[in-house]
């Protein structure tokens, strides 16, 4: 711990302790008579209004990894990294179309997970299992990447870098994660919901300060864009190609426009079918909290666009460029930039914001994955008569397993492995789009057509991602692939194949009159705005009896 700045370190530790206190205190927030119910532990009592939902979903979707990886991509490749800005613009109008329907049908039937809905809609345990396994697989590496975000901050702070032993080096990470695991176990979804207030306040403060302050140190926006433009249009002597693109290139220059648009669209479609996003959605008290938030959440999208611009600021700062070059890790660009530009106390605020920014989504993701395991694997296949109490207990333990699995992942395996898996996670989760979003609008798809479609999409997506190569890396080089001469996001290619198979097989299965299975939902359930009390009585008689 030789280069640790005492001021920065103290501020980070102090803010971390405050957040820990909030996490434990959250167990008492909106306390229900019986907390041992998944509606309570896993969905915070399904009682969050517009305001809390805004913080919860915002804290959920904009993760520490986003804050590190998006500017790192901009730093390395230029304009393509701004697909993140485009995707967050598109994500909310897209979610506006289907998310309120998912909220309503889940509230009427007491669904806790997206796979619960698939189960109810298609009467198929197998299809629900496919949805649940995909959700868990896609979420695990995402949790691991939150740790990568924390590690980037700790590395730049100099914490633990004095030791070559992995375990000694990662002690601060272990401590942070054990604390996170314990308060998530105790408080459930209430913990990240409460901490999200602290996290987002810190992040809004440091981003706004950075956007106004850093350009004054770097000769203004004109200079920042000028340096970036010069850098990305110059030719890399190693590859004989430009370093990147300053605006998405048109067809004449080797198009990156399709790549940009398909990455943005694919990510936007995937965003709200991730289990953790659905967990945040189902925790809302009323349907209006969801529709209103689709208009309010873009405030975070502005934030993300500004964060992406940090990548260009880093390029325009020679000290940061030298530090990144020496470390050989572009992910450190933003922490190095902050360390160089800010006074040490404010660097502490920014680093704490990023590190705490990792804890909120990590908690929600582990809760989302744990609920999938409990509801759609444990209860479905192991113990069908599991009581609400037992289900909650299983979820609590599963959330611990998810977090420590992710920790082992982040510490034991090279980071590129987590990043590749997260990239694959997006491709995988998109394969649940036809059964989930399709199912919200129509029962036309046959359940035995959706399953092969899903499988084909998973296989094609995985194989295509594995086969991408650059001169530097032989596999997993990119999330995009060339289809008919166009560079496209693999997730989009795979989900198109998935849909095509589902459509063709549905036509065949319907012609053969294969049984469709029961559907427990009714059209009115998708637009219902049920009275909260009435549904809580229906779903969980024990939790409101005493009130």
């Amino acid at each position: 711990m030789s280069h640790v700045n005492a001021t920065t370190f103290t501020i980070v530790v102090a803010l971390f302790i405050i957040v820990t206190g909030v996490g434990f205190a959250a167990a008492r927030w909106r306390r229900a008579a019986d907390m041992m119910h998944l509606d309570e532990w896993g969905l915070g009592g399904r009682g969050f209004g517009t305001f809390v939902t805004w913080f919860l979903l915002g804290g959920d979707l904009y993760t520490a990894y986003t804050f590190i990886a998006v500017p790192a991509l901009v730093y390395g490749s230029g304009s393509i990294g701004f697909y993140a800005a485009s995707y967050t613009i598109m994500a909310f109008p897209i979610a506006f179309i289907f998310l309120p329907r998912l909220w309503s049908v889940s509230r009427v039937h007491g669904y806790v997970t997206p796979a619960d809905f698939v189960r109810g809609r298609y009467g198929s345990r197998g299809l629900a299992l496919a949805a649940a396994v995909t959700g868990i697989l896609a979420t695990m590496p995402y949790v691991a990447l939150q740790l990568v975000g924390i590690q980037a901050v700790l590395t730049v702070m100099g914490v633990g870098s004095g030791s070559s032993n992995t375990y000694v080096k990662d002690v601060p990470l272990f401590i942070a994660f054990v604390v996170l695991a314990v308060y998530t176990y105790v408080s459930g979804l209430r913990a990240p919901a409460a901490i999200a207030f602290v996290k987002d306040t810190l992040i809004y403060i440091f981003v706004i300060v950075a956007v106004f302050y850093i350009p004054t140190r770097l000769g203004g926006w004109g200079h920042i864009f000028g340096v970036a433009q010069a850098h990305f249009t110059s030719v890399n002597p190693a590859t004989k190609k430009p370093f990147g693109t300053f605006t998405p290139a048109s067809a004449r220059l080797g198009s990156t426009q399709f790549d940009f648009a398909s990455l943005a669209l694919g990510s936007a479609l995937a965003l709200f079918i991730y289990p953790h996003a659905i967990t945040g959605t189902l925790a809302a008290r009323h349907r209006g909290a969801i529709t209103r938030n689709m208009a309010l959440l873009p405030a975070y999208a502005v934030l993300l666009c500004l964060i992406a611009l940090f990548g260009y600021m880093a390029i325009a700062d020679p000290v940061t460029v030298a530090a990144v070059k020496q470390s050989g890790n572009a992910q450190l660009a933003v922490p190095f930039l902050f360390q160089h530009m800010f006074p040490s106390w404010f660097a502490g605020v920014a680093f704490a914001g990023i590190a705490i920014g990792a804890l909120v989504p990590a908690a929600i993701m582990s809760i989302g994955a744990a609920n999938l395991f409990t509801r759609n694997i444990f209860k479905e296949f192991v113990k069908p008569d599991a009581s609400p109490r037992l289900q909650t207990r299983v979820s609590q333990w599963a959330s611990l397993v998810v977090k420590f699995g992710a920790l082992a992942f982040a510490v034991e395996l090279p980071h590129t492995f987590s990043i590749n898996l997260q990239l694959l996670g997006g491709v995988w989760i998109l394969q649940t789009l036809p059964m989930l979003v399709g199912g919200l609008f129509t029962r036309w798809f046959h359940r035995w057509a959706l399953l092969p479609g899903w499988l084909a999409g998973m296989i094609l997506g995985t194989v295509a991602a594995y086969k991408t190569a650059t001169p530097a890396t032989s596999h997993w080089a990119s999330s995009s692939d060339t289809v008919f001469g166009f560079t496209l996001y693999i997730g989009i290619t795979a989900v198109v194949l998935n849909l095509a198979i589902a459509v063709v097989l549905t036509v065949i299965l319907r012609a053969l009159k294969v049984t469709e299975g029961p559907d427990e939902t009714r059209p009115a359930h998708y637009t219902a705005e049920p009275d909260t009390e009435a549904v809580l009585v229906a779903v969980a008689p024990t939790s409101v009896e005493s009130s």
């Binding site: 109008p93 203004g220 048109s250």
Partner: protein, 102 residues
């Protein structure tokens, strides 16, 4: 939409007892047939959402450096400026949908 006349309850499924779900579902407001009841509003909602999505999906609209706005090349200015536009469009869609649901 092919829907079986009576839901068959699979063994061990998480289900609300039918009788208990009724008070909640009775209050449900169906927007099924919203298109026929409020054709203009529904089409406007659709157009607003389509514009919000297409605005950045169609990359050639804004993948250019000039004109610069202040120090910002057009591409970056457009992305920042389109966010409030998309948010307001989605917000109006949300308000209109509430009126349709009433």
């Amino acid at each position: 939409m092919a829907e079986p006349p009576e839901p068959v309850e699979p063994p061990g499924a998480a289900r609300i007892p039918e009788g208990r779900a009724t008070p909640a579902t009775a209050r449900a407001r169906a927007t099924r047939g919203a298109l026929s009841a409020h054709p203009v509003t529904t089409v406007v909602i659709g157009l607003l959402l389509a514009a919000a999505i297409a605005g950045t999906l169609v990359v050639p609209i804004y993948a250019r450096i000039s004109p610069r706005v202040g120090d910002f090349p057009f591409f970056y200015f457009y992305l920042l400026a389109y966010m409030p536009v998309a948010a307001i469009a989605t917000g109006i869609a949300a308000l209109l949908q509430r009126r349709v649901a009433r």
